[in-house]
C-alpha cells in the first residue's frame, strides 16, 4: 500500500532537451495523472550512450557516475526513451563491472529506472488516458525499448484508449529504422536504405501518423519521410497520450502548416 505518491525523477534525455521539449512536458503530465510527484533534477545532460557505443568507456563511466549521483535520491527514474532508459537500466552496471561500489549503485538505480510508457502501465497500473487524437496511427517498436526492456503491448494498450485514434500495424514494426546513434552518420548509405524500407512499410499501412517512443528514431524516420515528400505526421507517443498535440507541430513540420505561429 502506498500512501504518499512516489517521487519520480524525470530524466529528459539530451535529444528531448534539445529538440522536443514538449515530450518532457507530456511526460510530466502523464506521470502526474498516474499519481506521481515529478521532479526534473537540475544539471542533467546526457546518459552517455554516444561515448559508450563509440568504445569510449572512460568518458561513459564519468558521465554515468554523475547521472547516478544526480538521480539516486528519487524513488524512480523515468525516461521518455527506450534506448536511454535501457542505458541506465541495463548498461550502467555493465560499465562498472570492475568497480564493485559503483556497480552496486548502478544496479540499484537501474532497478528503479523505467522507460515512460512501460512505467505508466507496468508500475503505476495505468490502463487508459484522457486524450483525443484524430487520425490513423502506426507504431514503430524502437529496438532497445523492444528487445532490452520488453516494451510492446504497453504503448498499444494506452493508445487504444485515445479517442478518435485508430492503430494500424505496419509490417516489420520490430525491424530497426536505421538510426543507431552515430551509425546513421557513419554509414549514411546503409542507414538511409534501412529507413527507406521503414518508410515503405509505414506508407503501406495508409496511416497518417507515425508514433514511437524514441526521439532518435523519430527524427530519422521523419527526416526520410519528409525528404521523400510524404505528409505522414510524426510524433512521440507521449505527445498523443498526454493530449498535447496542439502544443507543437509534428516533428519536422513548420508552424506554417499548423496555421500560424503560437
Amino acid at each position: 500500500m502506498r500512501h504518499t505518491p512516489p517521487r519520480v525523477a524525470l530524466f529528459a534525455t539530451c535529444l528531448v532537451d534539445l529538440y522536443r521539449p514538449t515530450v518532457g512536458f507530456a511526460a510530466i503530465k502523464l506521470l502526474k495523472e498516474a499519481g506521481c510527484t515529478v521532479v526534473v533534477p537540475e544539471g542533467q545532460t546526457c546518459c552517455g550512450q554516444p561515448a559508450y557505443n563509440s568504445g569510449d568507456k572512460a568518458d561513459a563511466q564519468d558521465i554515468a557516475r554523475s547521472v547516478i549521483a544526480l538521480l539516486e535520491p528519487y524513488d524512480y527514474v523515468v525516461v521518455p526513451s527506450g534506448s536511454c532508459g535501457g542505458m541506465i537500466r541495463e548498461q550502467y552496471a555493465a560499465l562498472f563491472a570492475a568497480d564493485p561500489e559503483w556497480k552496486l549503485r548502478a544496479e540499484r538505480l537501474g532497478a528503479r529506472t523505467f522507460e515512460l510508457v512501460s512505467f505508466l502501465v507496468d508500475v503505476m497500473g495505468m490502463t487508459g488516458v484522457e486524450a483525443r487524437y484524430e487520425g490513423m496511427a502506426t507504431y514503430h517498436d524502437s529496438c532497445s525499448g523492444l528487445r532490452e526492456l520488453g516494451i510492446k503491448g504497453q504503448p498499444r494498450a494506452l493508445l487504444a484508449t485515445v479517442a478518435g485514434l485508430t492503430l494500424a500495424e505496419m509490417e516489420d514494426a520490430e525491424v530497426c529504422c536505421g538510426f543507431g546513434g552515430t551509425f546513421c552518420v557513419k554509414y549514411p548509405d546503409i542507414s538511409v536504405r534501412m529507413v527507406s524500407d521503414k518508410v515503405e512499410r509505414i506508407r503501406a499501412t495508409g496511416a497518417d501518423t507515425l508514433l514511437a517512443g524514441d526521439l532518435g528514431c523519430l527524427l530519422n524516420m521523419a527526416g526520410r519521410l519528409q525528404r521523400l515528400g510524404h505528409t505522414v505526421r510524426v510524433r512521440h507517443v507521449a505527445e498523443v497520450l498526454a493530449g498535447m498535440t496542439d502544443a507543437v507541430p509534428p516533428i519536422g513540420e513548420g508552424q506554417a502548416r499548423q496555421g500560424g505561429a503560437r
Binding site: A12, C14, V16, D17, L18, Y19, R20, P21, F25, V40, E42, Q44, T45, C46, A51, Y52, S54, G55, D56, K57, D59, D62, I63, S66, A94, C143, R147, E174, V175, C176, G178, G180, F183, C184, V185, K186, Y187, P188, D189, I190, S191, V192, R193, M194, V195, D197, L219, N220, A222, G223, R224, Q226, R227, G252, E253, G254, Q255, A256, R257, A261
Partner: protein
Amino acid sequence: MLTTSPAFKQNATTALADAGLQKALANAKAGFMQKRARAVAALPEFEALRDLGRDIKNHTIAHLDFYLDTYARNVEAEGGKVHWCETADDARRAVVEICRSVGARTVTKGKSMIGEELGINEHLEAAGIEPIETDLGEYIIQLRKEPPSHIIAPAFHLNREDWIEAFREKHTELAPGRVLDERKTLIDEARTILRSRFLAADVGITGANMLIAETGSSVIVTNEGNGDLTQTLPKVHIVLASIEKVVPTLEDACTILRLLARSATGQDFSTYTTFSTGPRRAPDLDGPAEYHVILLDNGRTSMIGTEFQEMLRCIRCAACMNHCPVYGAVGGHAYGWVYPGPMGSVLTPSLIGVDKAGHLPNASTFCGKCESVCPMKIPLPKMMRHWREREFERHLSPSAARFGLGVWAWFARRPWAYRLATRIGAGTLGFAGRKRGRFGSLPLAGGWTGGRDMPAPEGETFQARYARLRKQGLV
C-alpha cells in the same frame, strides 16, 4: 583468403547500388526469417533448449583441452588420424600432404567454412590438384570464381538468371539450346555433371558441424546428400574442423542439432545428418580407407579468457545474418572476408585483426535482433561494442570522430556548459527552422542530410522552458 574488409564502406555502397544483388537479397531473406519463426513457434521448449545449448558449449570451452584430447584419442582409437594445426598454413600443408600421399588428382568437397578460411581451393590448385565443390551453392560460386556470401547458403547473392548464365558458359559439353529455366532442371544438370566427378575423386574433403569427444565422430548436416557422397566414395576422407566444434557427448550433439536446423533453415531436422567415425572397417560396405581430421586453431585459443570467449559457442547457423538489417541491405561480400553478418562482425576482427576489420563491429545499429535469434544466446552487440572499445583504446578510430566525441563528452560532463551550448544551439536552429520545421542541408551534417531532412528543434530547451515555467508557477 584475402580480405576487403578495410573497404567495407565502399563495398556497401556498391552493393546497395547493385540491382541484381538487391533482388536476390530480398528474395532469400524473407523466406529464412519466416521459416525460422514457424519452426520456433512449433517447439515450446525452444527457449529452454537455447539455455541448454549455451550451457553445453560454455562447459566445453571451459574444459576445451580435456575434450579435444578425449576426442583425438577416440579418433585414433577408431583408426583415424588427427592433425593439430595451429595456423592456416599448417592446415593447408597437412591437406596437401595427405592428397599427395595418395597421388590425388581430383578432390571433391562438401561445404566447409574452414575450407574458406584456409583458402584451400587455391592451395590445392597451386599444388596441381583439382578441387570440385559438390554443394550446389558452392558449385555455382566456384564456377563464377567468387567466395560465398553467406555461411549456409553460399550463393545467397545470386538470382536464377545468374545460375543459368554460368551453366551455359561453363557446361560447354552440353547442348547450347537446352532449356534451363527451372530450378529443377538446373539441379538435374549440376547433378549429372557432378556424378562423374564423385566417382573419379581420390580424396573427399568435408567440414564438420560438430566433433563428438565421447565417440571420436564428426557430424555433418546437409540437404543435398552431397556430403555423404564426398566422404564415402573416395579412398581418403579429410575433415576440416576448428577446435571449438567439439562437444562432449552424442547426446549433447543431438541437443545442438535440434537448435541448428530450426535456427538455420527452419527445418526440424536437416535432410541428411551424417556421423562419421574413423575409416571403413572390415565389415563395412563402403567408406574411405583413410580418415583424417584437420583440427584448426587459427587464433581461436587466443579468444579464450577474453571478452570474446563467448563467440566460440557459435554453431554457424546463420540466424544472426538472416535477421540482420545491415546484412540484408548489403549482402555478405561487403564484409570482405569469410564470415559476414553479425557473427562475422565479432569473429573477423579476432581472426584477421581489428585494424583490418574495424568497420565491421562499427557498422551496427545495435538493434539486438541477432542476439535475440541466436540459438547459443551469444551477446553479439555487446562484443561488437568491446571491439569498439579496443579500437578506441588503441586509437584506431578515425581522429575526426574522436575529436567530435571528445568535445561532446566535455560538455556532457559539465552541466553548466551543456546548458549554455544546448540553449544556444536549440535557439539558433529553432529560430532558423521555425517556418519550415526542418532543414534540407546543414553545415557539418552531410551524413544526415544526404538522404534525410533534419527536423528543426522547437527552439527553447526543455530544461530552460521548465525552469522558466517553474519560476512562473506553471509546472
